[in-house]
């Protein structure tokens, strides 16, 4: 209990002492910006929905048509993001690893789904995959219907999600050390073993990020889907469309409830993916 007790570090610090200034202004700006762009609109949404009370929310959220739409939205989005992770990885691989004519052209084409108005994409896809379209016509004799079924939604969501996986995996793949693969080969590993034991684990964090982005985009996608989905309630009706339908019926609270439920589910799923990603980064040595 000496009077001149050494100054102790406070038990909590908002910021670590650092020689590099700028923490406070940047944090302040980031918080303000996020509030204006994200938090306040979403808060208003949840506030509006809460006007119905918990019972009311529960009733809307569990009504059969809403549940079916949510299942379609999230189920198909997850499937599309999964497929994009695999084939986006392949595209990224081909674009970074090999030199071939028109490679840059192909590279630029990957971004098209970003730039194209989604309605245009939806109409084109519907035309191509319809039973009388170019691809749909080939599948129709086999009894496979794509356009105007959940499969059509899947096609549209794969289309809009592709660039996310390609663009997140590409730079990581380009930075990957060729010598690690050579080391693996010199230790006797087959090409397959090298890819699965050395290359893919290093890419996993990037693939997961791409998956999360593609998934997020797919859940919110509206324009391209409604043209190809057929929009049959209980079958190929997506949740965002149901929100629009509710709005057109002036059921604003119903619309905000569906929106809030979507928000909650999407947030939980993205949080989970981010946690897996953080774990894999640690696990795979990206310190």
């Amino acid at each position: 209990m000496s009077a001149a007790a050494p100054a102790r570090a406070p038990w909590f610090r908002l910021r670590q002492p650092s020689a590099l200034p700028g923490f406070c202004p940047t944090l302040g700006f980031a918080l303000l910006y996020l509030s204006l762009i994200v938090l306040i609109p979403l808060g208003a949404l949840v506030l509006r929905a809460s006007g119905l009370g918990l019972d009311g929310i529960w009733q809307v959220a569990t009504s059969p048509r809403v549940r079916a739409a949510l299942e379609v939205s999230f189920g198909v989005s997850l499937a599309a993001a999964a497929v994009n992770s695999v084939f986006g990885l392949l595209v990224a691989w081909v674009l970074t690893r090999y030199r071939f004519p028109a490679r840059r052209l192909l590279d630029a084409m990957v971004d098209l789904p970003f730039a194209l108005p989604t309605a245009v994409a939806g109409i084109s896809l519907a035309a191509i995959w319809a039973p009388n379209g170019w691809i749909g016509g080939l599948l129709a004799p086999l009894g496979i219907k794509v356009a105007f079924t959940p499969l059509g939604i899947f096609v549209a969501l794969v289309f809009v999600g592709l660039p996310f996986v390609v663009r997140t995996v590409q730079p990581v793949l380009a930075d990957l050390d060729r010598e690690t693969e050579e080391a693996s080969a010199s230790l006797g590993a087959t090409r397959r073993q090298t890819v699965f034991r050395v290359v893919l684990p290093s890419l996993l964090p990037a693939i997961l990020t791409g998956f999360a982005l593609a998934f997020g985009r797919a859940v919110g996608e509206y324009g391209s889907v409604i043209f190809i989905a057929g929009n049959l309630p209980f079958r190929s009706e997506i949740a965002p469309l149901l929100i629009v339908i509710k709005l057109e019926e002036f059921d604003y609270q119903g619309a905000t409830v569906i929106a809030s439920v979507m928000l909650a589910i999407a947030f939980l799923l993205l949080l989970t993916i981010n946690l897996i990603q953080a774990w894999s980064r640690r696990r795979f040595g990206h310190v």
């Binding site: 050390d177 010598e179 690690t180 050579e182 080391a183 693996s184 080969a185 010199s186 230790l187 006797g188 590993a189 087959t190 073993q193 034991r197 050395v198 684990p201 290093s202 696990r283 795979f284 040595g285 990206h286 310190v287």
Partner: protein, 359 residues
Amino acid sequence: MGAAMSTEAMETVAIRAEGLEKHFAAVPALNGVDLDVAPGELVALLGPSGSGKTTLLRIVAGLDHPTAGRVFFGDEDATALPVQARRVGFVFQSYALFRHMTVGDNVAYGLKVRPRSARPSRTDIRKRVSELLELVHLPGLEKRFPAQLSGGQRQRVALARALAVEPRVLLLDEPFGALDAKVRRDLRRWLRDLHDRTGHTTLFVTHDQDEALELADRVAILDRGRIEQIGTPDEVYDRPATAFVAGFIGEAVKVPVTVAGGRVLLGPHGLPAPDGFRDGPAALFVRPRDLVAAEDGEDVADTMPLAVAGVRRAGPARRAELSIAEHLPAVEIELPPHVSPSRGDTLAVRFSTLRLFPA
């Protein structure tokens, strides 16, 4: 030069390169390289960057394919063997450790990827890994990740990983290139010890001549895709076979001279030329230790007077900087106690060794 060695080592050669050529988009990186390495030998490939030494190492490993020529391991023609089948232990300059695996998994990798029939049991693998980590002085680090190790430790993990597959030959690309000077010296000695204990035939690439001369049984000196000379450290240091080697090994000053009538002419002065040396322009390589202050009464025809550019005291020794010719760096020699020139004097010196090559 390599061919002369091979006649006696014919039956007992571990690695043989025959007429290796490699062209990268018409630029030759290797230009007809022959090399024999005896079993258990430690051979250094030494040369400036771009001399083709790493290309040669990668071709021996099977990581690159020669445009022409063949590679043998023992009697077996390995030219067409893929890298997986060559059973070489390759250590990369960047170590190329698997960052997402622990040290233990890195070392075990070569054993784990074997087909089931040839794969040791889990317990055997674990035992082998801990033995190898013991061997490279990193016992008990199995659970660490490469990111948690220092450069020297990573280097040794890479070596343990390469040794795990019981390679026929060990190939090291600039093994100490990325380390600081102190660690380099320690690891150099340690690698020599390790080689003496395990006896792996080893080929390593370096641009550091001290490293090559100290570590290797024989040194192959490469320049522009050719082996200029191959021999023991003493041979290449004391008896350089070509002008390139004379200039590259040791700290030599290259002096352009003319040979005429059995004399090496440098400005107004001259020295006796070696017997049978052809007349014409030549290059004289002067190392500090080649110059000795002439004794009194020595034949003036055998010595050369050089201008003293400075005299310095370094502890017990006195050194003189001698200027051989204008525009050339001065050569520093140690002075005998009874000779004490001052700046601006001339000092008669004798060449204990005359390294003279046709220009």
